[in-house]
Symmetry: C2
Subunit: 241 residues, 2 copies
């Protein structure tokens, strides 16, 4: 049986304020929970319809009706767990880093975290306005990659001012990525879904790059920030192959 306090805690973790206050976040679905249990993340508690065979203090067997009550998903997937938010590690400033300037959509951030994991990017730097990576929708979209990418929320202006790496920013009018020489390290800056990279961050970007558009009509507005990140990360990595 779920206690009132447990329900209250879980429900509160939908909000960033309470995630930060408690230092906890929610992960749902048996597969992702299993993956996280094998990572360095510290488990707080697990509410499940089938046992995971972990210590009895942390595990609470509940009914499907109870799970439906606490789940953030339309179709709950057998278990909901709470993990402790890990401390950010220090950033390795000698490698390729991805920096996000005010990315707001949880699905986009989740996809970008998964891309960083695929392309071996260790550090993802986010402006303070970027959506919280422990937002349940982000966690759902990362498919476990959240455990393998170090995500830091920083003052992006300060970070870029201090960085010795060349910064590359994705713009509509930048130089074609097929024509410029791309190094294997640097900071790749991606902007907000609607407004792109902000003026202040733009002034700190050393090289403006762009993915050429091939449609005859030239009417497609822009690529989605996650698909653009996919293409640009691939370009950085192909340069080191």
């Amino acid at each position: 049986m779920l206690s009132k306090n447990q329900i209250k805690l879980i429900t509160s973790l939908k909000q960033k304020k309470y995630r930060q206050q408690h230092g906890l976040f929610v992960v749902e679905g048996v597969k992702t929970i299993r993956e996280l249990l094998q990572s360095n993340l510290e488990l707080h508690s697990i509410y499940t319809t089938e046992t995971f065979n972990i210590d009895a203090k942390s595990e609470f067997l509940i009914s499907e009706v109870e799970l439906k009550k606490i789940s953030f998903l339309k179709t709950p997937n057998r278990a909901l767990s709470i993990f402790k938010i890990p401390k950010s590690k220090s950033i390795d400033k000698t490698q390729l880093i991805v920096a996000l300037d005010d990315v707001r959509d949880p699905g986009n951030l989740g996809t970008i975290i998964r891309l960083c994991d695929w392309f071996g990017i260790k550090d993802l730097v986010c402006s303070k306005e970027t959506v919280d990576c422990f937002n349940p929708k982000v966690i759902q979209a990362t498919m476990g990659s959240i455990t393998r990418v170090n995500i830091c929320y920083v003052d992006l202006i300060e970070f870029l001012s201090d960085s010795e790496l060349t910064s590359f920013g994705a713009f509509m009018d930048g130089n074609s990525i097929y024509k410029i020489k791309i190094p294997s390290e640097g900071v790749l800056v991606m902007g907000n879904e609607a407004n792109g990279i902000s003026k202040e961050v733009e002034s700190l970007v050393k090289k403006k790059i762009s993915i050429p558009r091939f449609g005859e009509l030239q009417e497609t507005e822009s690529l989605n920030v996650a698909t653009a990140t996919a293409i640009l990360l691939s370009e950085f990595r192909r340069s080191s192959c």
Copy 2:
């Protein structure tokens, strides 16, 4: 005022069966509707809280409450319209074509249509199991690109058997796209979100390609089909630059 019949028609168009029966589909949001009004698509009717200044026979001014009632969105965006489903055009078999084998997620199909538009792919060929491109969630994700890409639902086995173009299929164990020579025309085959390309289609694919994974742990399961399509289309296009 909305009539019962109008409400019934609009609501029915959420389902593929009725879209096909009526030959109609729903588009929401002022911006996308404006874009579609300027395309070759034929308008059936528009239900809006602000006039579009089009002929009175097709336009119905309604209240926000009424819009909320008929909208497929959580947050309706001032107008809902119905357009006629266009006839598929014949496929140009001398250029780069994208073929989808059972892609099920509407968001993924929408993103892939937008990518085709960006990269100047005129023809998108879908297996009959692929999600319907006139599904409201697909339309929402395409951002108007649906008017610029010719989408055909075909028997993919037959299509690939008849095709004279070299077919490239995305697999986990294919040849690195950074190392093989990619031509500027061909058929790029992308598979289902969970199962990839089916065995039957695989047997017809001439070249298996793959996006190398760079993470040290090699644990990221796979790239999302839309982000993988983004990277592969970029590779095809860079080869013609």
